[in-house]
Amino acid sequence: MATIDETRTAEGSEETPKYKVIGTRPIRHDGSDKVTGRALYGADIKVKGMIFGAVLRSPHAHANIKSIDTSKAEAFPGVRAVVTSADLPEPGDKIAELGEGAVVLNHLSSNNLARTKVLYKGHAVAAVAADNLHIAQEAASLIEVEYEVLPPVMNVLKAMEDDAPVLNPDVRTEEASTGETGDKPSNIAKHIVFEKGDLEKGFADAKYVVEREFRTSTVHQGYIEPHVATVLWNNDGQITVWTPTQGTFSVRSQMAELLHVPLARVKVVPAEIGGGFGGKISVYLAPAAAVLSRKAGVPVQIVMDRADVLQATGPTPGSFIRIKMGVDADGRLTAAEAWMAYEAGGYPGSPIGAGAMCVFSCYDIPNGRVEGYDVCVNKPRTNAYRAPGATNAAFATETVVDELCEQMGMSPLEFRLLNASKEGTRRIDGVTYPRIGLVETLEAIKNSEHYNTPLTGENQGRGIGSGFWFNAGLKSAVTATVNSDGSVGLLEGSTDIGGSRTAIAMQFAEAIGLAAEDIKPAVVDTDSVGYTDVTGGSRVTYATGWAAYEAAQDLKRQIVSRAAELWEVDPDLVSYEDGSVIGPDKSMTFKEIAIELSLGGEPLVGRGVSNHNEPGGAFGTHLVDVEVDPDTGKVDILRYTAAQDCGTAIHPAYVEGQIQGGAVQGIGWGLNEEYWYDEAGSMRNANFLDYRIPTCYDLPMIDPIIVEVPNPGHPYGVRGVGEVPIVPPPAALEAAIYDAVGVRMYELPMSPPRVLHELLKKES
């Protein structure tokens, strides 16, 4: 593991580190609870008097619901309540902002409990609450649903055909640039076009042009903890939701909108969250649990099983992408064109917008056109998955780049250095980059021991790929409460999915001049902290860290003013530096002044909020060596190095962990993972054995290289880390497979049967 940290000390002296806390590796504050089994995740929450729910799900991928008869379930001994969509308020045609972009409430409500149609196998139709889970499951199976089965639409291109069965009668094609919508129902929910320069001229200037078509399969986030919701609808109308979620406030908004209750009547208590990666933002169980609780008069807990998680939550889309790129005689890109269709699942909302912005994000391209389509198909409604939309796009673009390099006889790394996006590069969708660190990640790979170690074995190959993600800012709030002994509690609204409590506490500690261990961070419920957006978009370390920084500034101002009062001196003569308040003839450490102030006057509470949107954007470049078994098509990874610009690494161990974990998710996506559907639209591998995520035996160590090009838009230069590393792996693997055995793979996953198929085709 190597760290490029020359930029860290850029502003200070070359010898002394710029920070005292930032860049160190303290034990995470919640660590002990998590290694002793004490931490309470969603299904560990036991609320007094709670009963258990089970959901009846559609066996069909596409059908009209003709009738639902719940009478037998209701009569089953031990059953306490049964609900269908009739128990949720009519959503009308409202579109609401729910912390994850605008949502058509009718779609969200129908996704929780189907109204008139089921749009994918596993779509929730009804729910039962009973004395125990076994009774609830038995009773759910007694609910009689009459379906009119319709032909399933399982492929994005087929769904776009004029005569394709239409999933949603209320969906019309929206032209993104004008906001105008089409006049007839369509599976195409949105059409996006971005243009820059003169495409025709660009291709005319090119000496080499490559155009290819790519297909990617639906894949799932694969968090180990299934979705859970425990809800009490109290007699006074107050609703409490205990759930593992990436956004307590987003759950609160969704519940308020779906149940037609005021926000203040919903309290969301975050359980520890067992992975999310974008998939634990939408509600799937809480609305049904809420109306079951209202009927039963006691708290109701519903837990999904693994098949439900795969079939009925929000995976990331399968896609069809066509890429054409042109390069001049000097190896400079002259033009690029993309045509991208993403599967939204049953309801609109694929990440096509992000995909279309990301598709050429790594390159400085003078002339370009990107066209994107959001298309409904009979698969679960897709949701965010780590850099949503970007991985599909990068696989296509980077593979075309690799082919161009081969035609030119140019090193893929030198090509990228020549054409890389940098400060001032204008993306095809119009955004001009601020200071970014793509070139630095390329240089880090170029200088790595891995890159400079030749690969010589038979059927072995090396590949490189780069990737981009925007990162996000949005809103965060933090409250710092100073105790009478000088210790500090930090209340946060950002649920901690991978060590963010510590990354936030470290920024607060740095700002106030304390040690990370002096701070006790707590993730609290929606009644106990200010509004905080989701743990997503790689935003928490950036934005909630910034709020913590502001809380520290607020405390420092209060301490200075009150110390001046205490010492009876002019506040202008008092300052706060390096963990101490300093007056003309006196100084006290934070702890001393905190104890002193606790003896008289108001309590010391710091308030920090942030809503900054300069997360800076981040890039990664990955290098992989593979060996392909020519008899089976199986790809083994021999060595993997991932360089990423994270701005400033607050806690380097967790930054490395994000890079390693993201890379491995990308490896799974690239080599193995896919939703396998039969002709009836039924997923045939809805379990972890057959939807096989990587195990530790499939992998070598993943060597991260942390590159630090500080983000000028953050007090400590943070950019955010989590999403970028999933983007490059499929493309880097494709290039490595080609280098190893000379076959190009245009479809994900590059699983043994597909690789073998290409090898046999090449032989014959």
């Binding site: 995470r28 991978g498 160590m701």
Partner: protein, 168 residues
């Protein structure tokens, strides 16, 4: 519904007697009857290892064991691993190596690793990866988990004399 049975087993060194239905898994009983929620339910069919505990010295997926089968068994769960005043070397190593992100797989990993290191105190990286392949982690990419188990093996070896380096 079949009648409930009384089952007696040793759980974390104490003899426990519990009632269960024949259809209940050991995982369900550990979590819901005995209140030991450290073992997690990730898949209910033996694929993810999040419910791993050690039974009679072997790492076992408790979602694949019926509670009635535990009669007379010696069950060790994550709740019983740490000494009162500290942590087990495996727990320490997971913290020091940042070998967890969300942490849901951690109890299962630690218990599987305990059974594994009890049998093979001085493993190679390959042996660790092979033996831990039944425990899934989606956050870490396994790198830091493997390193944590390597470190724990070293610590355990240093603490006991019974750790001769095997020569092949």
């Amino acid at each position: 519904m079949a009648k409930k049975r009384i089952v007696t087993a040793t759980v974390n060194g104490r003899e426990e007697e519990f009632l269960c239905q024949p259809r209940q898994t050991l995982l369900e009983v550990l979590r819901n009857t005995l209140g030991l929620t450290g073992a997690k339910e990730g898949c209910s069919n033996g694929n993810c290892g999040a419910c791993s505990v050690v039974i009679d010295g072997k790492a076992v997926n408790t979602c694949m064991v019926l509670a009635v089968e535990a009669e007379g068994a010696n069950i060790e769960t994550i709740e019983g691993l740490a000494p009162v005043d500290g942590l087990d070397p495996l727990q320490e190593a997971f913290l020091e190596n940042a070998a967890l992100q969300c942490g849901i797989c951690t109890p299962g990993f630690i218990m599987s690793a305990k059974a594994f290191l009890d049998e093979n105190p001085n493993p190679t990286e390959e042996e660790i990866r092979f033996s831990m392949a039944g425990n899934l982690c989606r956050c870490t990419g396994y790198d830091k988990i493997v390193r944590a188990i390597q470190q724990a093996a070293e610590t355990r070896c240093a603490q006991s004399a019974s750790c001769e380096k095997e020569t092949v």
